[in-house]
């Protein structure tokens, strides 16, 4: 142990973005290793890093001092007129001594940040003076101490008095150090303000100096050769041992002693932040728990009109006792309040997450997963051991989530509610890009290095791959780029807004954590991210957006309206959709799932016929199994084999069986991975939770998961499991780190899968209309949704000014069937207001005969009519697109009287004949689809000559057995390169008979890159692969469609590439 007692008080972590070059935990660990008594983290105008520092210090068993480094608007020079150069801004280090002082500092930072642009802080000295009470301050003098500095000091002394104020002194091996220290000592004597020794730490070890320089360059947007005096001259801003500090300050031992005085007096700890749930969710005078029980039972009586089943009742009681014991009723009531608001406004929402699948949440209507029907997920609803708030995410309709967010702001006020931050960290690509630029690599090289990730596998550099890219792995700049960007990985870059994590408190939130502006207007975020908030045990509710909920609500509305117009009750509800309809499962087993939530992707469609879901729980598995986690962890095939009785599930013992029984011995969910670690490897609940975090952060934190891996394997070996079993388990658990899916979320999603599938099966027209009205969302484009509806017997009618609304609507067909009328929303460039004006005008006056009449009566701008003409929406007037455009061409937006005389020109003009394929191409250009014909149908005869088969033929397994070589051609719908498929490209093409699924190996893709990457349509040759009803073509040759046949020039690419 060092002889000297010393606390480091000026430490800049990497949460002073692009300034500090070490993580808070690295700093704390290093300080502890060197024997510092205490450490403060003083980030620039920020508390963003203190939670991490606090947690690390707790682990290391050392004192942690909360502090921050304030820079105010006033320069030193304003206080000291006549100073040379441009004086630096006045810098103060502040340390709160108690909760009140901490609250004032948070309020001060919030004030400065709310006033400034995002990521900045604008404070004046007066602001600091207004909030200084209870805080200790250290003034950081400028490098060259101006003679008038004494006025600044005495002014500050009047505010803080000498007792709470100190002057920071450094011995950093800089020019003029001795004189500076001498003059500071004199000033200290003159003013009576004591000196305090600091080392202005910017990194935990001197080796981080290059990285710190690079960070400065990124911040200043220059290269290291240009940065000059903006870098530090040397690598001295690291931790020094207390004894070394004592030696450097040999002549001023009081300055070293002062560090300990400050450390002892700055006694505030983050443990004192007692989080308080908001109280207004409970009527005054009522006990929270009682209120929750009342609300729950009230809901339960609606859920179970015939009386609450006894199983549910027991479960409710169990949950009540748990909630009461852990004191979480306010949390459930807060969620309940938000959900109740959404319901009152008709906004569809659903909760997910462990706690969301409780019986309480079902009764409160937070979720529709009925625990009595699906006996699952009890064990991890709230973990008692972890003493951490429960976790409920609520999905809302994506178009209306903002209403909910604004409700929360309005109910609790901006002082008490804010979004949590998301710390944006450096990833491989961004790190390479910025480091390369700072080191002066050409843009071109930076681009090449950053784009290709091949050369960088798990932090190991592949020299051969670098050479392929044209780089010499021995080149100094390349080496430095690679090495420094590896170090930069995981560094925070800036704070962004979390997708929807709200934090709500009883007292003003800005006295617990500084709040700053988010990039979006009307949004404010706290400085801490969800891990920080978890660590401090604060309440967080995720208010998320989900497109499918919008679609489901719209579909249900359409069905009910239609029913009412037919004299029915129109009482279909999300919660009352009949469960377990075999026809719905049958449809899913046929992979007929376009538009259905989650299971509409190509990978899911391939899985559906193999998994054959026949129950709700099968859907839960279906949702979870097609994820990178299970795929990479090699769990899919064992599961399918066991499910199809081709293999017996084996369980080493009953403990394991209890964990993995319902998934046939294969861990498919994140909860199972954690439970496995507890049961088989002897993890504590806390360790298992650490494992969960490591899994989630694997990409960011690197090797953490391997440390847990060792622990799992040794733990399992010690408990008598075989090495092989242990390794397999770890591989599977590691697989989850890619993308683990918790069962509790899958359960909620599976319900949406079922509901959307049910709507698709029973109300295909309403379902398709609702999907179209909720765009953009989902996996498919409107054209494919319409086509799918047509294939399910829905007649789709084109956009027409005399019939269409803004949204797609249902119309009655000749035979009484419901038909789908496309809405004007699909018309490119058309504005909603114009469409609605036309809609009401037509509604009032009946259909129009000419464009001019419509124009006069609705008064919509000519440009809007032009857009409608481009969409061929005047068919009911007997006008073709060409004629409509010609007619619209004569109109001008001018005061109407000028065009009073304008009469309808007779449509006698002979416009040039338009080829049908062009007409179709223009349909695609304006509406994104054509109801007239498929573009490929025009070239079918030519394609047939080339031996190209219609895609629909591929289904015929007897004529085209597996292994046959075929050619198919069509427009490209989707290009995908899943991260789990080692570079294989999946492509879907479409012709007038259906779609064909192509598999393209990387070699083939590179060989035919131009056609494969850029063409709007292509012809592909390859071998047929069959798996049940799923057909793929394994491609060996590709040609651009345009090189083979003439297709309309106007036809633009419509594929979704690599999303």
């Amino acid at each position: 142990m060092p002889k000297t007692a010393y606390a480091e008080l000026q430490v800049t972590s990497n949460f002073s973005f692009l300034r500090g070059a070490s993580h808070p935990d690295e700093l704390v660990t290093q300080a502890a290793a060197l024997g510092c008594k205490a450490i403060a983290i003083t980030d620039l105008n920020s508390f963003a890093g203190i939670v991490r520092g606090h947690v690390a210090a707790k682990e290391a068993g050392m004192r942690f001092i909360v502090g921050c480094h304030l820079q105010v608007r006033e320069a030193m020079g304003i206080l000291a007129p006549g100073a040379p150069h441009v004086p630096p801004p006045l810098s103060l280090l502040m340390y709160p001594t108690d909760r009140g002082a901490y609250g004032r500092l948070c309020r001060l930072l919030t004030f400065g940040k709310r006033r400034a642009a995002k990521g900045e802080c604008d404070l004046t000295l007066q602001d600091v003076i207004d909030h200084h009470e209870g805080s200790l301050a250290v003034i950081v003098p400028p490098k060259r101490v101006p003679s008038s500095f004494v006025t600044t000091l005495s002014m500050l002394r009047d505010v803080f008095d000498a007792d709470r104020l100190s002057i920071a002194a450094t011995q950093l091996y800089e020019a003029g150090d001795e004189e500076r220290l001498a003059s500071l000592a004199t000033l200290s004597k003159q003013t009576g303000i004591p000196l305090v020794a600091v080392n202005d730490v910017h990194y935990h070890i001197p080796d981080r100096k290059p990285l710190q320089d690079v960070l400065s360059c990124i911040r200043l947007r220059c290269t290291v050769t240009q940065a000059g005096f903006d870098l530090f001259a040397h690598a001295e801003r690291h931790f020094k041992s207390p004894d070394e500090m004592a030696r450097l300050f040999g002549e001023h031992p009081a300055a070293i002693r002062r560090t300990m005085e400050i450390a002892e007096r700055a006694a505030f700890s983050l443990d004192e932040l007692k989080y308080q749930y908001p109280a207004e969710v409970c009527p005054p005078g009522k006990n929270m728990m009682e209120h929750l029980i009342d609300r729950t039972l009230q809901g339960a009586s609606q859920r179970y009109p015939n009386g609450i089943p006894s199983a549910v009742r027991t479960r409710l009681e169990h949950e009540f006792s748990l909630i009461g014991e852990l004191n979480y009723p306010a949390y459930f009531l807060t969620v309940d309040d938000i959900v109740a608001y959404a319901r009152s406004k008709g906004i569809l929402c659903q909760g997910r997450g462990a706690a969301a699948n409780s019986a309480v949440c079902y009764c409160l209507g937070i979720t529709a997963v009925d625990p009595s029907r699906h006996d699952l997920l009890v064990e991890r609803f709230i973990s008692k051991e972890r003493n951490e708030p429960p976790d409920i995410d609520i999905d809302f309709e994506h178009e209306r989530r903002e209403e909910v967010i604004q409700y929360v702001y309005q109910k609790y006020g901006r002082e008490r509610a804010a979004l949590t931050a998301e710390v944006i960290t450096y990833r491989r690509r961004s790190a390479v890009r910025e480091v390369g630029k700072a080191l002066g690599l050409s843009l071109d090289s930076v681009d090449r290095l950053a784009k290709s990730g091949d050369w960088w596998d798990k932090g190991i550099i592949d020299a051969a791959k670098l050479r392929e890219l044209g780089f010499d792995a021995r080149d100094r700049t390349i080496c430095l780029t690679v090495q420094l960007s590896t170090e930069l990985l995981g560094f925070p870059r800036h704070l962004s807004q979390h997708v929807g994590g709200f934090i709500i408190s009883q007292g003003p939130l800005c006295e617990s954590v500084p709040i700053e502006n988010a990039a979006m207007p009307d949004r404010t975020i706290v400085e801490w991210d969800k891990d920080d908030i978890d660590a401090l045990g604060m309440l967080k509710i995720d208010v998320l957006a989900l497109g499918m909920l919008t679609a489901i609500r719209k579909a249900i509305d359409l069905v009910n309206q239609w029913d009412q117009s037919k004299g029915g009750a129109g009482a279909l509800q999300f919660h009352t959709i009949p469960p377990d309809d075999p026809a719905v499962y049958e449809m899913l087993c046929q992979a007929d799932s376009i538009g259905v939530f989650q299971v509409e992707s190509r990978a899911q469609m391939t899985m559906l016929p193999r998994l054959q879901p026949r129950s709700y729980y099968d859907l839960v598995i279906e949702v979870a199994i097609v994820r990178p986690g299970p795929i990479v962890g090699n769990m899919v095939h064992p599961y399918l084999r066991r499910r199809n009785y081709e293999e017996e599930p084996d369980y080493p013992n009953d403990e394991i069986k209890a964990v993995l029984g319902r998934t046939l011995g294969v861990p498919l969910f994140q909860e199972q991975a954690m439970k496995l670690a507890i049961v088989a490897a002897g993890f504590t609940a806390g360790e298992a939770d650490g494992l969960r975090r490591a899994m989630a952060a694997w990409k960011r934190k690197g090797d953490l998961i391997y440390r847990y891996g060792q622990k799992i394997i040794t733990g399992m070996r010690a408990r008598g499991y075989t090495e092989e079993f242990a390794l397999r388990c770890f591989e599977q658990i590691k697989g989850f780190s890619e993308y683990g899916f918790p069962e509790s979320h899958a359960a909620s999603f599976a319900l949406l899968v079922y509901v959307s599938a049910w709507l698709k099966h029973h109300h295909p027209a309403a379902f398709a209309a609702a999907l179209l009205n909720s765009q953009p969302m989902g996996f498919y484009q409107p054209a494919q949704l319409v086509r799918d509806a047509q294939e399910h017997g829905v007649t789709v009618r084109p956009v027409d000014v005399n019939a269409s609304h803004w949204d797609c609507t249902l119309e009655e067909g000749k035979d009484g069937k419901t038909e789908l009328r496309l809405g004007m929303r699909s018309v490119k460039h058309l504005r909603m207001t114009a469409a609605e004006r036309i809609e009401t005008t037509v509604h009032r006056r009946g259909p129009f005969q000419t464009i001019i009449q419509l124009w006069r009566h609705s008064g919509v701008p000519v440009s809007m009519l032009r857009s409608l003409a481009e969409a061929d929406a005047f068919g009911s007037m007997g006008l073709s697109r060409q004629q409509a455009l010609w007619a619209v061409g004569a109109l001008r937006d001018a005061p109407l009287p000028m065009f009073e005389h304008l009469e309808d020109e007779e449509n006698d003009l002979d416009l040039p004949r338009m080829a049908p394929e062009k007409d179709v191409a223009q349909d695609y250009a304006s509406v994104g689809m054509s109801l007239k014909a498929h573009p490929i149908s025009f070239v079918r005869s030519r394609l047939a000559q080339l031996g190209v088969l219609p895609a629909g033929y591929l289904r015929n397994a007897t004529k085209l057995p597996r292994g046959n070589r075929v050619a198919v051609g069509g427009l490209v719908l989707v290009r995908q390169r899943p991260a789990t498929a080692s570079g294989v490209i999946f492509m879907t093409i479409e012709d007038e008979t259906g779609v064909a699924n192509l598999i393209i190996r990387p070699k083939i893709y590179d060989q035919y890159r131009r056609a494969a990457r850029h063409s709007i349509g292509l012809v592909a040759w390859g071998k047929i692969e069959r798996q049940g009803i799923v057909v793929h073509v394994l491609v060996d040759q590709i040609k651009d469609l345009r090189e083979l046949v003439r297709i309309a020039n106007d036809l633009k690419a419509m594929s979704r590439d690599f999303h």
Binding site: V86, A227, L231, R881, P912, R1013
Partner: protein, 483 residues
């Protein structure tokens, strides 16, 4: 491929035929283009240079016609408003080459020889020539008034030099070729697509006139004197040069400009011409100054067997800004002290050569040996170096810095303290006092990572030396002194 960069990405601005065949097109993302065409060489696209070379091409074309202009139509093929064509008025020129066709072929051959790809068309109207050059079937074509209609009919309406919105709306109603447009009633076309369409249409057939504004030669000022016979009389020649200078100064005065580069050329009998030039740091038309620079050059020029003519060429002319004369400053701004220095520098540069007159520039760096740099006086300012807030004071650095630190033997007693004595240049210095250390790390990014502790030390004679110890090797060096 020529590449442009904007804030977000790099993209292809222009590419050659080979790259285009591989699928590259203007506006494509660079990474994408490189994937399609991995071996393409790349350079930055410079719109100004593109415009300049087009001007150069236009000037070169003046050998075929006195009336030449750069195509003013802003519908460049690349849509960036840069010109992509040259217009020549060949009226009455064709007989010089036989026929128009032969003229175009001659032109095409010349262009091919300098490896330029071009399409040429001659037609009775400017609009038709424009259209046929871009959209005609052949790369060289001549169209007469008689077959104008037949040649134009099948062309796409893009050939009309109309903007893209008119073009798109015409195509939407099915009008794709000029013949289809011709078939539609004029009044209805005008009410829909505006008069500009009809104007372009009429210009195509010569029913509306169109004027081209030819480029004019802006030549350097070049004046000369011929002698009745060859002379070798130096006095006569210097006098002539002086007279020419006076004349030049007058011309420059009228143009409100001055010269930065001046060339004098002697045409000699039985020998090639000989010339000398002077460079100025700033534009001037001061005869006295110019002559003082020219004179030593003129005197040294080889007259050979005799000079027939003298030419004076102002090859770099700049406008001289008007300056307010001050009452107290002696009236003529060209005579005040600042200009004297400039005149001296001009003289030095022209006597000693541009690479010989250097000036020192500060480079922001802590490392002393790279903290300054010498650059030629007239060299363009090198790229703007940023200069951070310098924390060093004047007295922190010695007044004399050795080019290279010199190793010395030193005796030091304590870490972080100056040496007690050093032996430098075979002399012992016993150190009386010292300040420091100032620690400096050399540029790690250059692969030179060493840490130096600098001390400012005074020997017994009162001489201040700047010494440092390299921490990694513990060796001592002297790097400068205060003198």
């Amino acid at each position: 491929m020529l590449v442009t960069t904007d804030a977000r990405q790099e993209s292809v601005a222009r590419c050659c035929v080979t790259a285009a065949a591989a699928g590259v097109h203007a506006g494509m993302n660079l990474a994408e283009a490189r994937a399609l065409c991995p071996n393409a060489s790349m350079a930055m696209f410079d719109p100004a240079r593109s415009r300049e070379s087009m001007e150069l091409l236009a000037r070169w074309c003046m050998r075929y016609s006195p009336t030449v202009c750069i195509d003013p139509t802003a519908t460049g093929v690349f849509g960036d408003g840069l010109p992509d064509g040259v217009l020549l008025d060949l009226t009455g020129e064709e007989h010089l080459f036989g026929t128009e066709y032969l003229l175009l072929h001659e032109l095409m051959n010349k262009l091919e020889r300098v490896r330029m790809t071009a399409r040429l068309a001659a037609a009775p109207t400017l609009g038709a020539a424009w259209a046929l050059a871009r959209f005609g079937r052949n790369s060289v074509s001549v169209t007469t008034a008689a077959n104008l209609g037949a040649a134009l009919d099948p062309l796409p309406i893009m050939a009309l030099r109309i903007d893209s919105t008119v073009h798109d709306s015409l195509r939407q109603v099915g009008v794709e070729r000029i013949a289809q447009l011709a078939a539609l009633p004029r009044d209805r076309l005008a009410s829909r697509f505006g008069d500009s369409l009809l104007l372009r249409f009429d210009q195509l057939y010569g029913r509306a006139s169109e004027i081209i504004e030819p480029i004019r030669a802006t030549e350097p000022i070049c004046i000369g004197r011929g002698f009745d016979g060859a002379t070798i009389q130096l006095e006569a020649l210097t006098l002539t040069v002086q007279e020419l200078l006076e004349e030049l100064a007058h011309i420059l005065l009228c143009q409100e400009s001055g010269v930065r580069q001046l060339v004098v050329e002697y045409s000699r009998i039985d020998a090639p011409a000989v010339s000398r030039e002077v460079l100025l740091g700033r534009a001037s038309r001061d005869v006295k100054h110019l002559w003082s620079l020219l004179r030593p050059k003129v005197e040294a020029m080889n007259l050979g067997y005799g000079v027939e003519a003298v030419t004076l060429k102002a090859s770099w002319i700049e406008v001289i800004k008007h300056e307010q004369l001050t009452v107290w400053g002696g009236g003529n701004p060209e005579n005040d002290a600042g200009h004297d220095v400039e005149h001296l520098l001009d003289t030095l540069v022209n006597r000693c050569g541009t690479q010989q007159v250097l000036r020192a520039c500060a480079v922001p760096s802590y490392v002393p040996e790279i903290a300054r740099q010498f650059v030629p006086l007239h060299a363009k300012q090198s790229r703007q170096t940023r200069c951070g807030q310098m924390s060093l004071l004047f007295e922190d650095r010695p007044s004399f810095l050795l080019d290279k630190p010199e190793a010395v033997e030193a005796m030091a007693l304590l870490p972080d303290h100056p040496p007690a004595r050093i032996r430098w240049q075979a002399q012992d210095h016993s150190i009386q006092s010292g300040v420091g250390p100032e620690r400096i790390v050399t540029e790690w990014w250059e692969g030179r990572y060493s840490t130096r502790d600098y001390f400012k030390v005074q020997n017994e004679e009162g001489l201040w030396l700047w010494v440092f110890r390299e921490l990694e090797t513990s060796r001592w060096f002297v790097h400068g002194l205060w003198v």
